[in-house]
Amino acid sequence: MKLLSLELAGFKSFAEPTEFKFDSGVTGIVGPNGCGKSNIVDAVKWVLGEMSAKSLRGDAMLDVIFNGSGGRKPMSMAEVSLVFSNENHRLPLESEQVKITRRLYRDATSEYLVNNQTARLKDIRELFLDTGVGVDAYSVIEQGRVAALLDSDSLSRRDVFEEAA
């Protein structure tokens, strides 16, 4: 199971549809302060089911929808998709690739899709159960949070170990 690509449109500062293809090794992302690098990390957390606006650095979930700037008006929807290869069928689906999509509209309705079919968040969570992919997993370290694993008290440190069990 490999991560093939991430597609964003209308998500935070990514007003234009943007696609990042991921190679099998290391992908580096660089750029000046405030240009949108950490917004990419937020996009991955969001499409995997993040429900806390605060953990996406916003006050409300609608803060993930492009809010306008300069000549551009705010957009009415944010959409993010993650595409995985599934040749070894680690994900319990027939298809060779699996695409998960999340959308949020200005009226606060949201949609989840698996391979362009409507699904529920519960379906996405179950799909990735036990793969190490998920919102609370140890596989995403946000900016400034690397030492948080050590700062936490000894009981909450257990969570990370249990995640790996």
């Binding site: 007003a15 660089v30 990390v41 995985f84 690397v146 050590l150 000894s154 170990f161």
Partner: protein, 165 residues
Amino acid sequence: SRSRFSETFETVRKEFQEMFRKLFGGGKADAILENPQDILESGIEILARPPGKELQSISLLSGGERALTALALVLAIFRSKPSPFCILDEVDAPLDEANTGRFAAIIKEFLVQSQFILITHNKRMMTVADILYGVTMQEPGVSKKVAVRFDRGAASEAASPAAVA
């Protein structure tokens, strides 16, 4: 279940000891169950002794030593339960050149099982990337992906996307 947790705990512990030694170029670390009689509830204590130093409370570690110890723990968990991808957002910010170099070298050992996405301002880390994306805001407030030319030899200013046409 008890046996599953204690088995995972032992694996992560061993990996953590090894990762710490590799990242620090020496020293010793350990993860200890505070209350071994009660495996399913016990907190986990982290011990870390950088090379040449006495064992002290982890709160006395320096900013860079804490970040590196936390990275050793994350990579240890990764070893015991590989997730398809790992996203690290400027985790190298507190590290000096020697530690950044060791960290960059270690990442390469993980590429067999997982893909890494590294957000960084550090030229040394950029040299590890197989593919490099720049993000800029040519149009104010709107993130745009740009191709980045990376001159490995000089690891020069050219890496900063601003230098890309």
